[in-house]
């Protein structure tokens, strides 16, 4: 694969690490993403707009700020970092930290896509399910969840794409260590800094563009598919 794409070992490592980190970031944020989207779409409580704001904050804040906040919270001396270290969970300067940073940066995109699909669900179908004997859990599992699956997949794709491209928060939080935290964007950044790295940077850029484009197209297609499915028959 690496030879086929004409990639050097450092480039290939960066691509592999990026995919690995993005997969974990997406999988890790999925349960929280569905839960927060449900709460935002269906819940009625005080502070809902505050929660909405907090969820969307990483989208508008400078990534370096997010990264710095992660560093002082989850770093070795940070309160949560100290709390988690005895449990064997370490984020600082590890690929896990890169995954955490990417998860937080991709989270608003994921929540948005899932929330929109939940809001599009015809609640009268859920009422019908309840009259047929399904309790709240089963209504969710057999009606709501299947109907929002395309939205969930779209949200995962967006989150994955964002994670593949995340740079600012990652480099601030876990630095740029080849083989551990040097993701695709960090690698491009490094190659630009050294003389003769242009070719490598361009190859990685092409890969980056291809992945982003594919993700966006898949997301669009699934969103359209979702809209067709959730209208009541």
């Amino acid at each position: 694969m690496a030879e086929f794409l004409g990639l050097g070992p450092q480039e290939w490592t960066a691509v592999r690490l990026s995919v690995w980190v993005a997969l974990w970031a997406t999988a890790g944020s999925l349960p929280f993403g569905v839960a927060v989207a449900l709460v935002l779409a269906r819940g009625r409580f005080w502070g809902k707009s505050l929660l909405n704001g907090v969820v969307h904050l990483p989208l508008v804040m400078p990534p370096v700020v997010t990264g710095y906040l992660l560093l002082i919270t989850f770093g070795r001396r940070g309160p949560l970092g100290q709390l988690l270290e005895p449990l064997g969970i370490v984020f600082s300067f590890r690929w896990t930290g890169a995954a955490l940073a990417c998860a937080i940066m991709g989270f608003p995109l994921m929540v948005r896509a899932i929330r929109l699909s939940i809001e599009a669900v015809d609640r009268r179908l859920e009422q019908a399910a309840s009259t047929l004997g399904a309790g709240r859990f089963w209504v969710f599992a057999t009606v709501t969840l299947p109907l929002i699956t395309p939205g969930i997949i779209a949200g995962m794709i967006l989150c994955f794409a964002k994670a593949m491209g995340e740079f600012g928060a990652t480099i601030t939080f876990v630095s740029n260590i080849p083989g551990e935290t040097q993701t695709l964007p960090s690698a491009i950044y490094s190659f630009i800094q050294v003389p003769g790295g242009d070719a490598s940077a361009l190859r990685l850029t092409a890969i980056s563009i291809a992945i982003s484009l594919a993700a966006l197209m898949a997301s669009e297609w699934l969103a359209g598919h979702a809209a067709r499915r959730v209208t009541a028959a």
Binding site: D122, R124, L125, Q127, A128, A129, S130, T131, L132, G133, A134, G135, W138, V139, T142, V143, P146, L147, R229, V230, T231, A232, A233
Partner: protein, 378 residues
């Protein structure tokens, strides 16, 4: 009380509710024993609110609901059984089939949640009854409105409900689709042991289907009782529906006259000629005679085009409104109502107990399918 009444009472639906939603207030109490109780009234009278309260989709401010003695709601005792534990089938106006499931999976949905011991409904029998065997592997999106409604009825029945609610299942369909579904609802009424509460604002539909009627108006029950009696008085009806007042008579097919395309029905009032109907001789049918289609004569008329002349006596003279009055006749035991003007009433000098003749044009007993005499299956 006969054994049959007692059996019917075990699954009677008792409703006594007070509920407020914005400016609308509901205050209703009735019992429905079935086989098919129509909840009848104009739009905005609270029919859908009542069925939503029965199904558990709404929580009443105050009141009690019980099915066959099982209390579902009793605000005084703090009882509120959630919708999914009520075992009440609900056929919505808009079918609401699950778009992500095949017809077969839609049908199986409620069955899956029904307690094993109570899965009395038989898939094959219901599929056969509703004629949906061909549709099983299709998706709801590809079905016609009438097919969707039949699948929705099947889905509700397969959950083995204690009561089946139908909220204007025909309202969103055109006349042809309605005519397609009506016979299935009749088969349901006559063939299943599930009491049905059928919401409707159409007199023709109610007269054809209902065994009992509860009339709702502005959130109150204005009349209730067997279908044959409730519609005799126009007072129970509103505006345009007043023209639909009439009586329902049980008859049977005596013969067909292919030469003129007519059918002869036999009832206690005598023989009735109607445009050819689709039922075999001997089949029981239900005949609806609208009050406005009936004339009264004090002598047997001769040289008249109307084919149906029933001798009878004046049973009652209604209070009436405006220039018209409803005169109830007893024709050999069958009720026939006539809407005549006050002027005619005075001119003929009608009084209670007076022998008269009721005259009905045969063409009035057709009215485009929906009013046609409908077969009843035993």
């Amino acid at each position: 009380m006969t054994a049959g009444d007692a059996a019917a009472d075990t699954n009677a639906l008792e409703v006594d509710l007070r509920h407020r939603a914005g400016a609308f207030s509901l205050d209703v109490a009735f019992r429905a024993r079935g086989p098919l109780t129509a909840l009848f009234g104009p739009s905005g009278s609270g029919k859908t609110t009542v069925v939503n309260l029965i199904a558990g989709l709404l929580r009443p401010d105050e009141g009690r609901i019980a099915v066959g003695g099982r209390v579902l709601v009793d605000t005084a005792r703090g009882v509120f059984v959630p919708a999914h534990r009520r075992r009440i089938g609900y056929v919505f106006q808009d079918a609401r089939l699950f778009p992500h499931l095949s017809v077969r999976a839609n049908l199986a949905y409620g069955r899956w949640f029904a307690p094993r011991a109570e899965r009395s409904a038989d898939l094959a029998a219901i599929v056969e009854l509703l004629g949906i065997g061909r549709l099983l592997d299709r998706r709801p999106q590809g079905l016609s409105g009438g097919e969707r409604q039949r699948v929705a009825i099947g889905r509700a029945l397969l959950a083995s409900p204690a009561v089946l609610l139908m909220d204007e299942p025909l309202a969103s369909l055109d006349e042809a689709r309605k005519a397609e579904i009506l016979p299935y609802i009749e088969r349901l009424r006559d063939g299943m042991r599930v009491p049905i509460v059928h919401v409707s604002h159409s007199v023709a539909e109610v007269a054809r289907l209902a065994t009992d009627v509860v009339v709702l108006k502005e959130g109150r029950v204005t009349a209730a009782g067997p279908a044959a009696t409730v519609f005799r008085h126009a007072d129970a009806l509103d505006g345009a529906e007043r023209d639909e007042a009439g009586t329902v008579i049980d008859a049977s097919v005596a013969a067909h006259d292919e030469r003129f395309g007519m059918s002869v029905l036999r009832c206690r009032a005598g023989e009735v000629c109607v445009p050819r109907i689709d039922a075999a001789p001997g089949d029981p049918v239900r005949l609806r005679i609208r009050s406005r289609d009936v004339m009264i004569a004090t002598e047997r008329p001769r040289g008249i085009s109307a084919l149906n002349i029933f001798p009878g006596v004046v049973a009652d003279i209604g209070a009436g409104q405006g220039t018209a009055v409803d005169v109830m006749l007893d024709c050999g035991g069958d009720p026939v109502a006539a809407r005549i003007t006050r002027q005619s009433l005075a001119g003929l000098g009608l009084t209670r107990g007076m022998p008269v003749f009721a005259i009905v044009k045969s063409v009035a007993l057709d009215g485009g399918g929906e009013f046609a005499p409908a077969p009843i299956r035993a």
